[in-house]
């Protein structure tokens, strides 16, 4: 250091600390200065090409432009901007998928599943749409969450597993409702009903209580039969589930540790009722074609009828 200073004397700021500490006052390195000028030149070129400076109540539009097709099907263009670019890219991508979506829109459901090329398109595109929109509730594989969201992969359907019913579920959404019986019935009656409901699936239940529950189930006081049917096999028009098929959604019977736990789970549902099972409506949020594609996707998850 001492040598260098001796060779090229540089300016100092003139301050001296502790007798010998000085501060150099070097000019900026030449490469740095030029790099700085280059960034200024870049900015000027950028202002010219892209929308930038405000002028009066408008702004400079840049020199670039982007063309896209408007809703009348005419080619139209506007100065370069990200919205126009998006519109153009969306239209280009739609054109690529058009052949598939046109076929999906025009073919009846069962023809779509028979066409191997279309089926694999449905599988890959459907998976992406399902992950973004449905998986947070029905889970990635469609297996659902007991107590909250139904399983879409089994052949047990609340509202029906035909293409038409699945499509209706997605379009309009669903909201199952069962009234709470906690006040209308006594604890003993609810316990009897719970025993009966468990016995319907062949689970362990007190035979005497179950018999009493069976009577109540078909009585006017409880009127369970009105929604769940005389045979307790459910009514798909109102989403009342089949209670005889060992498949549980709201009463966490499979998760209970013992017989007492299973009884308590069913009692809770009967006493508390159900009105939190809300499936949002997707009409308007997803396009018709996306819904049709999802309908086939859900149908093919394993349980379609």
């Amino acid at each position: 250091m001492a040598n260098e200073t001796a060779r090229t004397p540089v300016q100092t700021t003139g301050h001296v600390w502790d007798g010998d500490l000085q501060e150099y006052n070097n000019p900026l390195p030449v490469w740095w200065i030029y790099a700085f000028y280059v960034t200024i030149a870049f900015a000027v070129i950028y202002w010219i090409i892209y929308p930038s400076w405000p002028v009066g109540s408008g702004f400079l539009k840049g020199v670039g432009s982007i063309s896209y097709v408007n809703q009348q099907g005419e080619e139209e263009s506007w100065h370069w901007n990200t919205r126009a670019k998006l519109l153009r890219e969306t239209q280009a991508a739609a054109a690529l998928q058009r052949p598939y979506y046109d076929k999906i829109a025009s073919l009846p459901y069962d023809q779509i599943t028979k066409d191997p090329e279309l089926s694999s398109f449905v599988l890959s595109a459907g998976k992406a749409i399902f992950s973004d929109n449905c998986a947070p509730c029905h889970q990635a594989g469609g297996q659902g969450v007991i107590g909250h969201f139904p399983n879409l992969t089994d052949d047990d359907w609340l509202y029906g597993g035909t293409f038409e019913k699945i499509s209706e579920s997605i379009h309009k959404g669903r909201r199952g409702y069962m009234p709470p019986f906690g006040e209308a019935l006594e604890a003993g009656q609810i316990d009897a009903l719970a025993n009966y409901v468990l016995s319907l699936s062949g689970l362990k239940a007190d035979a005497e209580k179950a018999a009493r529950g069976r009577e109540l189930f078909h009585s006017h006081a409880a009127a369970c039969y009105y929604c769940h049917g005389d045979d307790a096999k459910g009514r798909q028009d109102i989403g009342a589930p089949n209670l005889t098929d060992k498949v549980w959604l709201w009463a966490d019977v499979p998760g209970a540790a013992d017989d007492a736990g299973r009884l308590a789970a069913v009692r809770r549902v009967i006493a508390g009722g159900l009105d939190r099972g809300v499936m949002p409506a997707w009409e308007g949020r997803l396009s018709e074609e996306q819904i049709k594609l999802l309908t086939v996707y859900v149908h093919e998850l394993g349980g379609g009828k």
Binding site: V10, Q11, T13, N25, P27, P51, P54, G56, S57, G58, F59, Y68, N70, Q71, E76, W78, N81, T82, R83, A84, K85, L86, L87, E89, T90, A93, A128, D132, N133, P136, C137, Q139, V145, H148, F149, R276, G277, V278, M279, P280, G284, R285
Partner: protein, 247 residues
Amino acid sequence: MSKLKHEIIETNAGWLLVATMLAISVGGLVEITPLFMIDDTMEKVDGVRPYTPLEQRGRDIYIREGCYTCHSQMVRPFRDEQLRYGHYSLAAESKYDHPFQWGSKRTGPDLARVGGKYSNEWHVQHLIKPKSVVPESVMPNYPWLLTTPLDISDVGDRLRALRATGVPYSANAEEYRRNAERFGEDVARQLHIPDAQRNLVAQAQAGNFDGDRSSVTEMDALVAYLQVLGTMVDFRQYKPEDLVKYR
């Protein structure tokens, strides 16, 4: 070597301060003043209204809990974002947001269009314990929202503060009348500051956002807020090429 000219500034604290402020305010002025002058970038769309008292309290909780540290509220005009979240956000959609929640930090997904995407039940379950519905989630649990009663004592003051920034909440009959013309009676009633507490409780009770009608909790407010995000503009009314022209 010649004496460097900026030495005058560098060796004088007063001048340095003035020059720094000048440099910074040029940047600020260039970015901010045009927003007051340019009138063709704010989309003319119907439906955007200020938040109801309940939604606004939900928004306060959203900010208090720092949800914005992981979530943005602006769908950018890119194809991948459009596919995942829906229509890109418009400037008009956040015109009543103070402070806006655009953001660029996304540990979780963008929430600008989350309204109506899920049920109230899902939101409650998800906020209590995200992993119970999205097993791979890294979002924290917010169980206290469900058990903490919502403090509604100062909701009128909060709306008054927003009114001072230009959000059209009404404080008198004349302002109410103007809101009724602009937004319709139903919305205008919700925006009337003297009725804020009553409106808040009524909306929470009718919407039953947290699944328990007996009390108004912070969960009620937050879910009401989440459910309105991005739902005010009906995009079927507008042609995509018309929105392009606001840029």
